[in-house]
Symmetry: C2
Amino acid sequence: MQNFEYCNRTKIIFGKETEARVGAELAKYAEDNDGTSFRVLLHHSGGSSVRSGLLERVKNSLKSAGFSWVELDGVKPNPRLSKVHEGVALCKKEKLGFILAVGGGSVIDSAKAIAVGALYDGDVWDFYDRKKTAVHALPVATVLTIPAAGSESSISSVITNEAGPWKRPIDAECIRPVFSVMNPELTYSLPAYQTACGVADMLAHIMERYFTKEPHVELTDELCEGAMRVIIRNARRVFSGGEADYNARAELMWAGALAHNNLLSTGRIGDWGSHLIEHELSAVFDIAHGAGLSIVFPAWIKYNIKEDTPRLARFAAKVWGVDGAFYDHEQAALEGVFRMKNFFRSIGLPVSFGDAELDTGKIPEMAERAVKFGPLGNYRKLYAGDVEAILRLAAG
Amino acid sequence: MQNFEYCNRTKIIFGKETEARVGAELAKYAEDNDGTSFRVLLHHSGGSSVRSGLLERVKNSLKSAGFSWVELDGVKPNPRLSKVHEGVALCKKEKLGFILAVGGGSVIDSAKAIAVGALYDGDVWDFYDRKKTAVHALPVATVLTIPAAGSESSISSVITNEAGPWKRPIDAECIRPVFSVMNPELTYSLPAYQTACGVADMLAHIMERYFTKEPHVELTDELCEGAMRVIIRNARRVFSGGEADYNARAELMWAGALAHNNLLSTGRIGDWGSHLIEHELSAVFDIAHGAGLSIVFPAWIKYNIKEDTPRLARFAAKVWGVDGAFYDHEQAALEGVFRMKNFFRSIGLPVSFGDAELDTGKIPEMAERAVKFGPLGNYRKLYAGDVEAILRLAAG
């Protein structure tokens, strides 16, 4: 087991009708910080949270607690740098001191970027372009509507700069939300495709952490495997008429947060190659992140089939129910990939370029761009040629 | 799934030689708190941490970081109120601003009690006697030497008032350690009995959370079951000549912290009846907490065998490897208890009053005292008669 540090300070407020507590939590936060007074940037997409009445309930809660706010809507999936710039300008002009994101990972990631930019004189893209390291940010809190990105308790933010297009991540403790409100009922009305993309995203967050060459991480392995089984089982429930099954939605929502809060990577480094490859798919085709992952991940495993095959066989056994007594590890591992693809397809996700009607002609260009900052991944270092080979496996 | 709040702010610094970082972490803490300056109460048992040289290394680390301290040693297992009073007086007299506990659960629990008492004008026992609620405390950090109590990242402290004797717990967010240093190497030299007691304690912390009537807690169940399997497997390794097996010791140490940090109770209330019954054993016989638990818990399950038998059978299957296809749930559950007792015995723990040579004549008195604040537990409410019956089952 490798040495590690672990700390997650995000306070989770989980359950039915919890959005009504946002104002009170904000007041508690202010009190715990020497009675700081601030106005809030209320950041959202302007879409479903308005239509569902959620935003109105959040505003009522803020109002009852005596807070005032400025609104910024219009966040899109694969959140854009231009919107972040708008938010930064607004925070500076209106002297806002707190950012409340109401939405899914895109809104939260956008809010985190604004939080960093609001305390910086230059262009916030500097942080995503690795010219600067983020150490200060306005406090961010969230009301989560889409379990997927795990951004509600993570230190990550991923932003797309339209100029490239480049899709780039940052990781910084200062952007971890101070609290997150998670009401599974808010996810009943999610379109099936968005639910499915969220499922792929949270599974991928765990798989990135799970694929490691560190052999002594039993507890972390067990936690990962258990969480993946729970996600798969409860996704099946939701997709078998359980759209409004509170408990199934709750399991997915809570698993989505744990998937990305770094508890599941204690004692080892993860891989993250598939995520970085996927970012190229999203940047070039503007495909949903989860759909990109369901295309890339099975191909990544296939490409690595000779790379610690017993571990891939264990993954197949513990997560996908492949008989652990399978006589050949490689066959077991491939059966696991087969079941994974079946599962993704069964919830309506693409598992190849063909399924998503993506242009395979862009593969060489994407492979080059993916390795801009050097080779990807840790389970096995991937160079441009490897990335191209993985994307070719995903083409079919 | 029930609504819940979850937050654990303790920063974990885990791995080899991490005790050398104590001073630097303390300096970081001071810096994050507006450069607060403080002197430290260095609290320990005066035993193995002195002999092993650990205390010296911790002092060197404090010195290098520019901190000065006052020492208070002499903490005993089942930590005493009289020692807490000493610490409180010392903090007040010397105007100490931070408490560093170097030791196991007893030292940490004592440190937490001192932290509360230092900011209170009356007798700190008021909090344990439920006359007062703890909301303010000096900050506490720990260098853990015995994985067991989980106190290194928990909100709990249990103190014994010799006057009774009464052994009573408090739970308060303000006593959660701000950071904890966990080096598994420090546990190589633990006496086997202390290692075993720690194993029973961490298993018990998970079982208390696991036994619930809430049927929809799949993720939490999987995390609990995985953690229990890891503890059992790695305890076997340590007790099969693996005293200095870093990875086995590391799995136990990390599992011990997770066992008691409340992640494993999200979405449900736990039971805690067995713990409260055990407190009477420790108070009356001054037996180690873990040894008391290995006596009480099997009896508690047996007494509840008709109480949601399928859940007890699942526990037997998932944690103790009892064939899940067992035709009779009750038989499966009893087979689980049998294996649990075998396991405890195999690592040198008592599973009955007889094993530990305890006087069964005290049972009625202990049963009465256990319910002083009302019936115990949630899985099934236990009154004095129930507690007596459980202790009689454990008498054997």
